[in-house]
Symmetry: C2
């Protein structure tokens, strides 16, 4: 997994629509040739026109019979799909809006589904737990096939979780924890096994790093991940550089996927060019393979049919749209997905976080003092320039990074709501808001550091050893 990854075309949706249009056109022709009643023909034509409008909305192109929607994305030097001022692709996420990326538009563009209140309530009902704050607050905002996963779960057909991280450095910041915090919650409330892929091979291919460095980062990152509290009896963490050489089944699935994806396809989805190395070009299959339970015969008792649920940041979706496209052709179930929003840099939602800039985020190694100073100095404020103005006009929490961070990490909904109100009214000053964030993050990071210290090399080895995991299905 790359840290921030993105987006190709809404290919499944547009292809679906294209096929629907073909079928509907055929239906109209048949009705006419059979001289069906006028009302029936008219209804079919109405339907056809409606599909044409949908098609134009999704693809931006007019429907033409015989021309499938293959070239929606301009194959430029990257799969950049600009929507307003947002750019979201596998290696770039940027927006000019201080509020961040427009996620509703992203759902339409990707053809995924919104995680609405009804779905959140259903998760609460089924698990008997209060839905996680990331669900309550729209951090995980989009999904694919979650209803189907829950249907199966209710009829005693369980699933496994898969998430991952691209270990590009030793330094992890609080934003990197988002998928892991949520995945740990899912593991707990659904009581399911989990595989975590560390794509050290990918980092070697993309960055100016040696394999040894990437592998070392993978092991170091594994410690931070383990510190999130995963159950060792239900969790397998693996480095690609290691696991590929430990499991013929994994490689067999990788080759199976590689046989069913062309260069044209990865060019369209990821924007690869002829100058890219063949390692990058074939890598997407390696991120796809853990979506299939047969990649882990030791873990899942040779079962090939287990459904997979992938919690990840929305920029990873292109990998899994590709995976979902391939799955039925190699007789495996499509993975389901839950997508999260991006975590903003301290400097604001328009700027990019960077592991090489220690001031762009709060790192998991920061001291209480560093946390305090960074937030006070660097966290972009939605407040007014003077106390007088602030008291009079109030601040804007929607562009305030301290407030955004609190939505991620402050558990208490009432307290968060009160902060929003008071900040908006001007009753709460920027300094006070920042203090609140500092007091939230300092103990959280300290606890993390304490837990990480407890993670022995022995425990890491245990997590990273392929073995049967506990699961009840």
């Amino acid at each position: 997994m790359t840290d921030l990854q993105g987006v190709g075309s809404p290919d499944l949706t547009s292809t679906d629509l294209y096929e629907k249009l073909n079928a509907q056109g055929e239906k109209v022709r048949t009705l006419k040739s059979e001289k069906a009643p006028k009302a029936e023909i008219d209804a079919a034509v109405q339907e056809l026109l409606k599909f044409k409008v949908d098609y134009k909305t999704v693809t931006g192109q007019d429907y033409k019979a015989g021309c499938p929607p293959t070239n929606i994305i301009p194959n430029s030097n990257g799969p950049a799909v600009e929507d307003g001022d947002d750019q979201v692709d596998p290696w770039n996420v940027s927006t000019t809006s201080a509020k961040g990326v427009d996620y509703d538009k992203l759902i339409v563009r990707f053809g995924s589904s919104k995680i609405d209140q009804e779905l959140i309530d259903r998760i609460g009902r089924i698990t008997g737990q209060t839905p996680h704050r990331f669900l309550r607050r729209g951090v995980f905002f989009s999904h694919r096939d979650m209803q189907q996963v829950l249907d199966a779960y209710e009829s005693k057909k369980s699933f496994f979780l898969y998430t991952g991280r691209g270990p590009s450095s030793e330094a992890m910041h609080v934003g990197h924890l988002i998928p892991f915090i949520f995945t740990k919650w899912l593991q707990d409330v659904f009581d399911v096994p989990l595989v975590i892929q560390l794509t050290d091979d990918e980092k070697y291919l993309w960055k100016d790093l040696t394999q040894e460095e990437c592998y070392r980062f993978a092991v170091e990152n594994a410690k931070d991940i383990i510190a999130c509290g995963f159950d060792v009896n239900k969790t397998f963490i693996f480095s690609d550089l290691d696991y590929m050489g430990m499991s013929p089944s994994f490689y067999r699935n990788v080759v199976k996927i590689q046989k069913h994806v062309t260069f044209n396809q990865v060019k369209g989805i990821f924007g690869f060019t002829d100058s890219d190395c063949i390692g990058k070009i074939s890598f997407p299959a390696i991120q796809a393979a853990p979506s299939f339970s047969s990649s882990f015969p030791q873990i899942f008792n040779d079962r090939k049919d287990l459904q997979c649920l992938i919690p990840c940041a929305i920029d990873q979706d292109p990998y899994f749209r590709m995976t979902r496209d391939v799955a039925p052709r190699i007789s495996y179930p499509k993975p389901a997905l839950m997508h999260s929003t991006f975590f903003p840099a301290l400097q604001g939602a328009q700027t990019k976080m960077s592991a090489s800039d220690p001031n762009s985020s709060i790192f998991l190694t920061d001291t209480p003092k560093q946390i305090k100073n960074k937030i006070n100095k660097h966290a972009f404020s939605g407040g007014k320039d003077t106390i007088e103005e602030h008291r009079k006009y109030g601040g804007n929490p929607d562009v305030d990074v301290s407030f955004m961070y609190l939505t991620f990490f402050l558990e208490d909904d009432c307290q968060l709501q009160k902060i929003r109100q008071d900040y908006t009214s001007g009753a709460l000053l920027t300094g006070e808001l920042k203090k609140c964030l500092i007091e939230t993050l300092q103990p959280m990071i300290a606890t993390h550091q304490e837990r990480r210290k407890q993670v022995t090399d022995e425990l890491v080895k245990q997590f990273m050893t392929p073995r049967k995991l506990e699961f009840n299905f």
Copy 2:
């Protein structure tokens, strides 16, 4: 390995020349700017002009500073490089000449070296053995860096052998044995370890076969290979589908190679297109990796510096030109090569042998009767239409397939020479020539079948288990 593979451009040679030209241009400029003596400048300019002529000869293009020789090959639907009427590429070998491909031209085109009498004599001297008939008769006719391998061997720096096979079916014919017969001889006379790659992953990617079928073919083919008499203490045979999942070091080398080869390069060398699957595009790295001893740490005691010698058919050379190009950039020694000619179909050197046409060659499973019938019915004859004409004008051994097969399999040089003379003079009739081939192949195949029967599943498992091999260096 594909059964018959081929040829891109003489890229190393042209790149070398290009770099030489750049350096020489730089030298001339420096001499001029330093106002060196006229004679010295003139000599340097002469040298420059000479390089330019060489460059044009090799690339067919004029040298231009700043424009490396990248697009020598037209990137059509395949790397077809036509030379006269021969076409030799990784998946096609064809010629319109009944004598077969013009191998001298191929050496020039590939930038390899001829295995000349001096080299053959040197091999005989160093090993203290009569050079193998494949050397004496030009079956192995071309090489890269053999002198260097022998230099090192003489100063007690030994090497390991690497060859392979693409297991596309259970059926192997006598032609498939050529590299193995020769490799076994090399193993014996040099006393060196050997790795044999069975590219079942490649066959899965290229053919309409399941992974299970390809793997089964790999194991079946391994039995025929073992029957050639390899020393189990010095030979490791592996299926890619298996070994990739058994050795992190192998995968690490594959990724290392994949990082250093672009799609442009494999497009130029192998003729891949955008419609090819990403598995094919990245496969060349998998055939390249066994050229490096670090891919087999269990076998070579973690040594990274062992020189590799690859005996293979000339059509495999593109894989290893690519490998030799990458090697110095990842700090590994370049593999040396010995190339063999192609084995003709019974119907003649212009036709393609096919495992699906049982009459196109003698298979290792043929009965004595089948061998007799096939040769009598199908072996293309260089004889005349009637006995009278044949007696009067003589036959042509150079297009006679029975005679060609005898050059591969009849050990006695004198006998072969006499057959050639008598056939040319008309003293020997086609039927008699065929009888001679039948009597050579029948016992050879029977012995092979007898040996293959002795190959137990246990022995196959032993050969295919990664383990330390015996070697004295």
